[in-house]
């Protein structure tokens, strides 16, 4: 199925709003949306909500033979699935351009950062190593899938418990999953997603903003503020100081997001130790994951006072709002002001008609369902409330 096309009016409005540094949901230009992390029953299953964008990551592992060139190292495999659940434009099974791009970016970020020590995945050198597989499923696309996917992948990896193995000679037996040591992730990072709309930078674009952007800059950074990877796409020309500014923002965001992830992991660990049921089956009853639940929308109101005062001071009378149907001529009802004829035709009839309309007394019919209608003949049209 095709995506809903972006209309000209939306595009113009978004660009105008971005020029005035206003975003659709009232955020500042460098603000992230609210990030919510929750875990499933199994170890290694994690849901991440970035505003309305939702992804799920699942980590699994398997014992396999290592690669010929690297007999001491384990294997990591990443996969992002763009499911049709996320957006009508995504098709199941087909490798779209976006899916290839996201897969490559995620793989590059996670591999280059060396967040997992692959040598520790080795069981028997040259024969058996762990293959860790991270599957990220997109559940809802509201922009910035890359960030959500990377946060989910890292958190799921942190949450995951690898089973212990005991080797006796040539035999390798896998011990159950509960008892073993948890590996610690050396690095956590955040991929900072920025977009430029003709020299304006926005962090964490939502889906509408993603449609109007010219280009994208992704910075992956770990908590030690080392840049793991930078990628710029879209063919935009970035100034040096813009790239520096972006990396500074990424540094700030990394610490915030790392803190959030560690807090979420800690809470989950406490809940599991306390023996309480956890996982997403429980979350439904607690209303943490429900389809129809919506958070209260905060409304951006900081500028409203100045704007409203400005409008009042200008002293123009407010435009008329005509809420109920208006009868310019008996037999014809008009709701709204109608449009100006934009065809640029010169017709003599037009001018005469306009004057005629103004002369008629405007008859307003109230919304009540009573049979008798009181006809008003006002000299001056009613002022709006």
């Amino acid at each position: 199925m095709k995506d809903t096309p972006l209309s000209n009016c939306e595009r113009d409005f978004l660009l105008k709003a971005i020029e005035e540094k206003k975003r659709l949901d009232g955020r500042q230009t460098y603000d992230y949306r609210k990030i919510k992390i929750s875990f499933g029953t199994d170890y290694g299953c994690c849901f991440v909500d970035l505003g309305q964008t939702r992804v799920m990551a699942q980590v699994s592992c398997e014992l396999v033979a290592p690669k010929e060139s690297r007999p001491n190292e384990g294997i990591m495999f990443f996969n992002i699935e763009l499911s049709p659940m996320a957006s009508p434009g995504f098709e199941q099974g087909r490798q779209s351009e976006l899916s290839v791009k996201l897969n490559r970016q995620l793989e590059r970020c996670l591999r280059n950062s060396k967040c997992i020590d692959t040598e520790s995945l080795c069981v028997v050198s040259g024969e058996k190593v762990w293959q860790i597989r991270v599957d990220v499923h997109t559940l809802n696309n509201d922009g910035n899938l890359m960030d959500a996917a990377s946060i989910a992948a890292i958190t799921a990896l942190c949450h995951f418990r690898r089973p212990d193995v005991s080797t006796q000679g040539q035999e390798v037996t896998v011990v159950s999953q509960q008892q073993h040591s948890r590996w610690c992730l050396i690095h956590l990072f955040s991929a900072d997603l920025l977009s430029t709309c003709s020299t304006y930078l926005l962090v964490d674009p939502c889906e509408r903003e993603e449609r109007v952007m010219d280009g994208l800059l992704v910075i992956a950074m770990n908590k030690h503020r080392e840049i793991c990877s930078i990628q710029s796409s879209g063919g935009i020309m970035l100034l040096k100081e813009q790239v520096m500014r972006c990396s500074k923002i990424a540094g700030v965001k990394v610490s915030e997001i790392t803190e959030l992830i560690s807090e979420a992991l800690l809470n989950d660990r406490k809940a599991r130790k306390a023996g309480g049921k956890c996982g997403f089956a429980e979350s439904m009853q607690q209303d943490r994951i429900t389809a129809l639940k919506k958070d209260e929308t905060p409304v951006e109101m900081t500028d409203v006072t100045e704007t409203a005062n400005g409008i009042i001071q200008k002293g123009e009378a407010a435009p008329q709002t005509v809420p109920s149907p208006v009868l310019p001529v008996p037999g014809v009802g008009q709701v709204g002001q109608g449009l100006q004829n934009s065809w640029g035709l010169e017709e003599d009839d037009e001018d005469d008609y306009e004057e005629e309309k103004n002369d008629n007394n405007v008859v307003e019919i109230s919304d009540s369902e009573e049979e008798d209608v009181v006809i008003l003949n006002p000299e001056v049209p009613e002022k709006p409330k």
Binding site: T4, P5, L6, S7, N8, C9, E10, R11, D12, F13, K16, A17, E20, K22, L24, D25, G26, L292, K294, E296, T297, V299, E300, M301, D303, V304, T305, T307, A308, I311, A318, P319, T321, P323, V332, G333, Q334, V335, G336, Q337, G338, L339, Q340, N341, S342, W343, L345, D367, P384, K385
Partner: protein
């Protein structure tokens, strides 16, 4: 059966619930039997001599005998006579292809505008918004839109001007906004002066004096979906006080 249905007005019903006729024990020979007619609205269907609910929602009633199920839905199914906001996606020959959020795109002939003739083509570009109503909308044919009513006048329909913001809401909110005595609309009137076009396919276009005000109105309408009347009035009042 009328009484059994009327009893359950205001209750939440699920698909599969049914109302059946109960045969009278004694049929009087002298008193004439009144024939009761029940008009089924959306969500109710007649199956033989039973009334079956096919959507989940609240049962509503309007005098004298109309019943329907009020349900929350975001997916729009086209119906004849409804006016919607569509986005022009293609111009092929004499027709425009318009996307309205349904399963296929509707066609809009360029002659279906007020005052249009073969020589005077309407000024419609790709990506423009149009406010039109359905002429043909059933599941067997391609939906067709027109921008004039039966007498040939525009009646408020046609291409949109520049400016303004388009956003999506659920169909329930749209019906509430278009109801004759809409509380939401009257609350909104007390805020800022604005131009509002409401399409029955869940799309709303709003234009106000400044970008900030337009954004505020859009956000308020989107959040009004899930608020009770009291919460909504509180929020509107807060915004009003913030402004003045």
């Amino acid at each position: 059966m009328f009484s059994t249905v009327k009893e359950r007005v205001g209750e939440v019903l699920l698909p599969g619930d049914e109302f059946s006729f109960e045969a009278e024990e004694n049929i009087s020979l002298t008193v004439p039997v009144k024939s009761e007619k029940v008009v089924c609205g959306p969500g109710l269907r007649r199956c033989g001599d039973r009334l079956v609910v096919c959507k989940s929602g609240v049962l509503r009633h309007k005098e004298p005998n109309v019943f329907w199920i009020d349900s929350q839905q975001r997916r729009y199914v086209p119906a004849k006579g409804e006016s919607i906001i569509g986005i022009v996606t293609a111009k092929s020959g004499d027709v425009f292809k318009v996307d309205f959020g349904g399963s296929e795109q509707a066609s809009l002939s360029y002659l279906a505008f007020e005052g249009a003739t073969k020589r005077n083509r309407p000024n419609v570009q790709m990506g423009d918004l149009v406010f039109a109503q359905f002429l043909i909308a059933n599941k067997d044919m391609e939906p067709e839109l027109v921008c004039i009513d039966s007498s040939g006048r525009a009646n408020g329909m046609g291409v949109f001007g520049t400016g303004g913001l388009l956003f999506r809401v659920s169909l329930g909110l749209v019906r509430r906004l278009l109801a004759p005595q809409s509380n939401i609309r009257s609350d909104l009137e007390h805020l800022f002066p604005c131009e509002l076009v409401v399409g029955m396919n869940g799309r709303i276009w709003v234009k106000s004096a400044s970008v900030q005000q337009t954004l505020i109105i859009a956000n308020l309408l989107q959040s009004a979906e899930t608020m009770t009347a009291q919460q909504r009035q509180q929020l509107f009042r807060k915004v009003q006080q913030g402004a003045f």
